[in-house]
Amino acid sequence: MHKYLPHTSQDIEEMLKVTGANSLDDLFTSIPKKLRLTKPYQIPSALSDHDLTKHMQNLAKQNKELIVFRGAGAYDHYSPSIVKALISRQEFLTSYTPYQPEVAQGTLQYIFEYQSMVCELTGMEVSNASMYDGATATAEAMFMAFAQTGMSKVLISSTVNPRIIDVVKTYARYRDIEVIVTPSQDGVTDLNFIQKNMENAMGLIVQNPNYFGIIEDYNGFSEVVHENDGLFIMNSEGQPLSLIKTPGEYDADIAVGDLQSFGLPLSFGGAYVGYLATKMKYVRKMPGRICGITTDVDGKRAFVLTLQAREQHIRRAKANSNICSNQSLMALAVTIYLSTMGKEGTVMVANESMKGAHYLYQELLKTNKFEVVYNKPFFKEFVLKAKFDVDKFEKDLLKDGILGPLHIKDNHLLFAVTEKRSIEEIDLLVRKVVEQK
């Protein structure tokens, strides 16, 4: 028998006796004969652990580990060793949703701590236990606004990451929600257009820092949205929130975004984690699990899932969201990361990333091989327009083990710098630019 299956032939025989079946096949008589598989699966043969290790190492080698100057939603930050070590503890790793709170206080407690940290970062009143990613969190925020207002039109700024806009459109399409992508001026959201088109809209979705890395000034936006009874939804990657004005300070109604920067490896795009936080007055429209505090029969403080009457397993067809499994273990990783970096370290990582990005920006401009595209304050990403062949540039960089900027359109390159990038690595990238014709 396979090593993950403990049954001896004697076990099987004894157990069959108890079940009253003559053979294992007898247990499957409810499956009609004509539907039964008659031949083995056409899949690869099993590998021993040793051979499988070699096989996987070989596959891993077919992916190139690079010096990353690319972001656009996934960022190459450092993660302290303790993050992986602690989330690998079986009590966290192998448990399920905390439906039996008496034996799941560990999971519930870190969810509570996670929610507290998300609220600190965003300035919002209540966070759920996590979402799949920032893009689906944005789509779910739209559904909250849909349920709250009953309106079937939503505005989303063209400065939002186009991949997020795509996901929002996917979700909207099947609910007959009209998605209007609002124009931008010099890389920032055009408030004028929104003023003219906000009537009868469920809300406005913006991003800060936006797709181009620009830290937008959203003063005055919530007033326009609220005058039209809409909800103001702001998507922010977690890390910049340690520095920039928070969704709460902008009077956003729902804050959403990705938290991958906080200790999660790039890992080809997943598993990451998204957050969704809101004002207490909208909590009953919120998707997903929420952990609260209560007491047990002895008066002891304890953690428990709360306000569950919103959720699919209770409301079924009347639920606002279908989310069940979320990204709990990744929320734990974020919680451990934020505890380790703490109040000061989180800000320092953000500052170091920003310093590197601004240094690269200045050095690239000095090469005279770029044109300025947007003259706006930015965080760790920025856009420049190249005066050379960008496809050849990408290939040249790969030869030196560098993942260069993302080509977003018409020679516009989106660069990203994290605290992991040294001055030497930045200088190397600049030298490669100088070589471009």
Binding site: H2, L5, M15, V18, T19, L24, F28, I31, Y41, Q42, I43, Q57, L59, A60, N63, G73, I82, K84, R89, E91, L93, Y96, Q100, E102, T107, E113, C119, D133, D166, Y174, S242, I244, K245, P265, S267, F268, G269, A271, V273, V283, C291, A302, V304, T306, A317, N322, I323, S325, L329, S339, T340, G342, K343, E344, G345, T346, E352, H358, P377, L406
Partner: protein
């Protein structure tokens, strides 16, 4: 061991640090004041060792699969092999940016493509997308595909999804989120589809039927071929909720039963860790005629080269990138440890284990559905109801004895549901011990019902005041005080 009940915020001390950082000798960047937050986020200030000890203590308040028997029905709490974790986090997987050029990620794309191909073979379908993040996300994708299919045929009045009342809550919720109207049909007493009830609601507004097979009561839909014929004749599509796929591994395939679309919970059938409620992975699979609707981007292969492609008729993108890669790599490792030689033993042993427990306890627990079950079954509470001991009490008492409780009060078709799924990884000895404890609890219910009704007694916290938590929500640290 002493009980630890502090929050990370409660061990924080101003000036303590848990990090070190390379500081670049570069000028600080000054942002305009209007764009900057007014106060620093109040995150904890603790040392690295504080964090390690804190989360170690917090972890010990949890029950995991490695702690003990975890017969949580419908959740397939099987062993999560260590080699899966080790190999899925090799640096050549962990340090790869999702937007790297395809020629630099051939290993990952190959894993993606191979995994979807194996899943397609196991389920008898044409292809899978691994992009959905979880089971419910896969359901949503599948329902979008149903809608897209009817839309493309200009058959737009099909806006109803039929769902049996024994279904998981995510089924009707997904249908709603996808803009469908849900038509719930009453099941037979064993939770199977009532053909007459089905016939009565099938019409030209039927978009499809969602089904879990075996169903949530652990019963195989013996009429599945007829169900398939009825739904397809009415112009609808058949959706397979793969939550219970474990039971039929090696025995039968959803595609052969007539299902057009499925999702598979890799965190159930293919052993990826549940992680306290995620990350999961919910690949969505389709038959040939629905290939063009799979979510974008789609991983393709030509002459041994792997690449992404978008389909014009796709339902669209479902996430920022391509799903939970670190999860489906684990599933791939698991699939390769079983291979074609042993895959079917999974279903056999899972079903044997479930039947063994059921037959060993049916004299004291109410068994509403007679006959062989599949990988799980449902007891409708204790046979002897005179003591007033309910399913919840039995579940809580099991915690005292070091077991995780079964799934309780689901499926909804029985009032005292107790859904038990042992999985294939548990030995006869483990099952015997569990059976014995179930008997002990049943005896306690007779001899000392109060003891059971007030359980648990030995856990770190006892029964919780859930109403209080909802009445006065405390949902973050600053709400305390």
């Amino acid at each position: 061991m002493k009980y630890y009940n502090k929050l990370i915020f409660e061990i924080s001390k101003k000036g303590r640090e848990g990090f070190n950082l390379t500081k670049k000798d570069l000028p600080e960047v000054k942002l305009p004041k209007a764009l900057v937050r007014s106060n620093k986020a109040n995150l904890p200030e603790v040392s690295e060792f504080d964090v390690v000890r804190h989360y170690t203590n917090v972890s010990q308040k949890n029950f995991g699969v490695e702690t003990g028997f975890y017969p949580l029905g419908s959740c397939t709490m099987k062993y999560n092999p260590k080699i899966n974790d080790e190999l899925a986090t090799l640096s050549g997987f962990a340090n790869i940016h999702p937007l790297q050029p395809v020629e630099t990620v051939q290993g990952l794309l190959k894993i993606y493509h191979e995994t979807q191909r194996i899943l397609a073979e196991i389920s008898g379908l044409a292809a899978y997308s691994l992009n959905p993040f979880a089971g419910a996300h896969g359901e949503l994708a599948g329902l979008m595909i149903i809608q897209a299919y009817h839309d493309k045929r200009n058959d737009s009045k099909r806006n109803k999804i039929i769902i049996p009342d024994s279904a998981h809550g995510t089924n009707p919720a997904s249908a709603t989120v996808c803009g469908f109207e849900t038509v719930e049909i009453k099941s037979n007493p064993d939770g199977t589809v009532n053909l007459e009830a089905l016939k009565a609601v099938l019409n030209d507004e039927t978009a499809g039927l969602m089904l879990t097979n075996p169903n949530t009561a652990g019963v195989f839909e013996k009429d599945i071929a007829e169900i398939s014929r009825l739904v397809h004749d009415a112009g609808g599509l058949l959706y397979y909720d793969g939550a219970n796929l474990n039971a039929i591994l090696g025995k039968t395939r959803p595609g052969d039963m007539g299902f057009d679309i499925t999702h598979i919970n890799l965190h159930k059938t293919f052993s990826t860790p549940h992680g306290g409620g995620g990350p999961g992975s919910g690949p969505v699979g389709v038959c040939e005629k629905l290939l063009e609707f799979l979510p974008n981007p789609i991983v393709k292969e030509k002459d041994g080269f792997y690449y992404f492609e978008d389909s014009a008729d796709s339902i669209g993108a479902l996430g920022l990138f391509y799903g939970n890669a670190s999860v489906y790599i684990r599933a791939y490792v698991y699939l390769m440890t079983f291979g074609k030689e042993s895959m079917s033993d999974i279903g056999l042993m899972a079903v044997l284990n479930a039947n063994y427990i059921k037959e060993s306890l049916k004299d004291i627990f109410e068994l509403p559905i007679k006959g062989h079950c599949m990988h799980e079954f449902v007891f409708d509470g204790l046979k002897d109801q005179s003591t007033g001991v309910k399913t919840l009490d039995v579940a809580k008492r099991l915690l005292d004895y070091g077991y995780h409780a079964p799934t309780v009060y689901f499926p909804l078709i029985f009032s005292q549901s107790m859904m038990i799924e042992p999985t294939e990884v548990e030995s006869k000895e483990t099952l015997d011990e569990f059976i014995n404890i179930m008997r002990v609890v049943a005896q306690e219910a007779k001899d000392n019902p109060e003891l059971v009704k007030t359980a648990p007694h030995n856990t770190i916290v006892r029964r919780l005041d859930e109403a209080k938590a909802a009445r006065q929500p405390i949902v973050k640290f600053t709400d305390l005080k």
